[in-house]
């Protein structure tokens, strides 16, 4: 394809049925370079295409357009086009190019976070997850992005619908870690501690060859939640990976013991931890931390609880 105009014409012509799309797809792949070079010019071509019928072509153009530099004025219009596209696109077509779809959704998430309106992204990402999934048991990269937005916008209930699905198929192990970790946080926010324990347990016992930051944080919260809910910290089950068993114990040992001491000091365990997981660190908290002679880890945990995702570069 030489020009974007020709490509657009092809998209419009070849989006009728499945064979035509199969024809179109390789053409689009070949034109990626062209699209990238012409990124800033693509806006009018997007208007010519219908996101519902020409979903695949629209996706390629949108992805190339958004990968270029975006001015502030264009940003809000871009957000609207992202949302409109996600709501009206055809699931079969976008599943042919899942990576592009995922990167478009990630850009939506970045924009929404940049403009500090995470709630704007919650409904679109929920739709996106449902469209990208092959079945409700399939975990995609978008699941964790969606849960992150739910957490940051405090719309915990919105995430429940997706969280309640059992997962049997996973694309990437990192997705599972993040998904279960954020899922645990959402359940903690809703005070459904048994389910939170389940999710965090999954992170701690997931197979891993090298220790990662997500599981360390998850383990710390796992200890605290099991103290609230069960009054004690259960030992590692047999199927925990060796890496996890060796390393997590070191990282979290001090926290575990001190937290136990704190709880036993009857400083109102429930309200204290309410404050943590209610995401508003209170003065009482730091006093308790100082009292237990243990300012740093609890402060870190509280700060982390208040900020969730960005630390992990998610």
């Amino acid at each position: 394809m030489d020009t974007v105009e020709a490509l657009t014409a092809h998209i419009q012509g070849l989006s009728g049925n499945f064979e035509e799309i199969a024809h179109l797809h390789p053409l689009l792949k070949l034109s990626e370079e062209l699209l990238r070079m012409q990124a800033s010019r693509l806006a009018p071509f997007l208007d010519l295409l219908d996101p519902a019928k020409h979903s695949l072509g629209y996706l390629y153009l949108l992805e190339a357009y958004s990968s270029g530099p975006i001015t502030r004025e264009q940003a809000s219009a871009l957000l609207i086009s992202f949302v409109g596209f996600i709501n009206s696109c055809s699931a079969e077509q976008i599943r042919l190019a899942p990576d592009k779809f995922i990167s478009v959704c990630k850009r939506l998430k970045d924009q929404v976070l940049q403009h500090k309106v995470p709630i704007q992204g919650v409904a679109p990402l929920r739709t996106a997850v449902r469209k990208l999934q092959i079945s409700s048991e399939h975990l995609t990269t978008l699941h964790s992005e969606f849960l992150l937005l739910c957490l940051l916008s405090k719309c915990y209930k919105a995430g429940l619908n997706i969280l309640d699905d059992d997962i049997f198929e996973v694309d990437q192990p990192r997705d599972l870690f993040l998904y279960c970790y954020y899922g645990g946080m959402i359940y903690i926010g809703l005070k459904r501690f048994p389910k939170a324990l389940e999710c965090l347990h999954n992170v701690v016992t997931a197979p891993m060859s090298a220790i990662n930051a997500i599981s360390i944080e998850a383990y710390k919260k796992y200890i605290l939640v099991s103290l609230i809910h069960l009054g004690q910290v259960p030992p590692f089950p047999k199927y925990t990976s060796a890496t996890a068993q060796r390393n997590l114990k070191n990282y979290a040992q001090v926290l575990g013991e001190e937290a136990k001491v704190v709880m036993e000091q009857r400083v109102g365990g429930d309200t204290v931890l309410n404050d943590v997981f209610g995401l508003s660190p209170s003065v009482m908290y730091f006093n308790i931390g100082r009292k237990a002679g243990f300012h740093n880890a609890i402060e870190e945990l509280v700060w982390f609880a208040a900020n969730f995702g960005p630390v992990l570069g998610a």
Partner: protein, 197 residues
């Protein structure tokens, strides 16, 4: 903003759906990039959550409301007062908070329905917790005058002793369904027989 779904629910008195509809509408409108905070019916949204006894959602909603709006809307503050009494388990305070504010017509139906539902809930609590209760205490829990509370209790089958001003609780009989009927037993036997042979 298209709030017709919410208005329909209020008009048809399906108050238990109000919170869910509000949540969904809020997400949809937010995704359009519209800044909805000024015109959003937060009071109805909040009371909808209280109606569902979903104090967590009510709390998160309160936290997410910008402080300018909190200050400029007295009905919202009054609605949150009810939420606070519920959170602190201040049973009598809930009624005081409801009565202490002149609700606008839109919210009025919802608040009245909430009050009724709450009264029933507290009544059930009393039934399960007390065997005898003084009229004064019951009046406080149920937010009614002593005469009203006596009538209410008598209607629900309690007995009243005017000498000591005490109400005796009658717990409703728990009817356990007869789960084991002969045809099911027969089927079960057949299955086991098939499996074993």
């Amino acid at each position: 903003m298209d709030l017709s779904q919410l208005q329909d629910a209020l008009a048809s008195k399906s108050y238990d759906e109000v919170a869910g509809i509000c949540d969904e509408l809020m997400l949809q409108i937010a995704s359009m990039g519209v800044s909805f905070q000024e015109e959003w019916p937060y009071t109805i949204h909040l009371i909808g959550h209280l109606y569902d006894s979903d104090l967590n959602s009510a709390r998160f909603l309160w936290k997410s409301i910008p402080s300018g709006i909190k200050e400029s809307r007295p009905d919202l503050v009054a609605a949150w007062k009810i939420g606070q009494c519920l959170w602190n388990r201040d049973y009598a305070g809930v009624y005081a908070a409801i009565r202490g504010f002149d609700w606008n017509p839109e919210a009025h139906g919802l608040v009245a329905a909430f009050q009724e539902k709450y009264t029933e809930r507290v009544f059930q609590l009393l039934v399960s917790a007390y065997s005898t209760i003084s009229v004064a205490d019951a009046a406080q829990f149920l937010g009614m005058s002593e005469d009203d509370v006596t009538n209410y209790a008598l209607q629900h089958g309690w007995t009243f002793d005017s000498g000591s001003r005490m109400l005796t609780v009658t717990k409703p009989k728990i009817v356990t369904e007869q789960k084991l009927d002969p045809s099911k037993l027969q089927r079960l036997t057949e299955y086991v027989f098939q499996l074993e042979h």
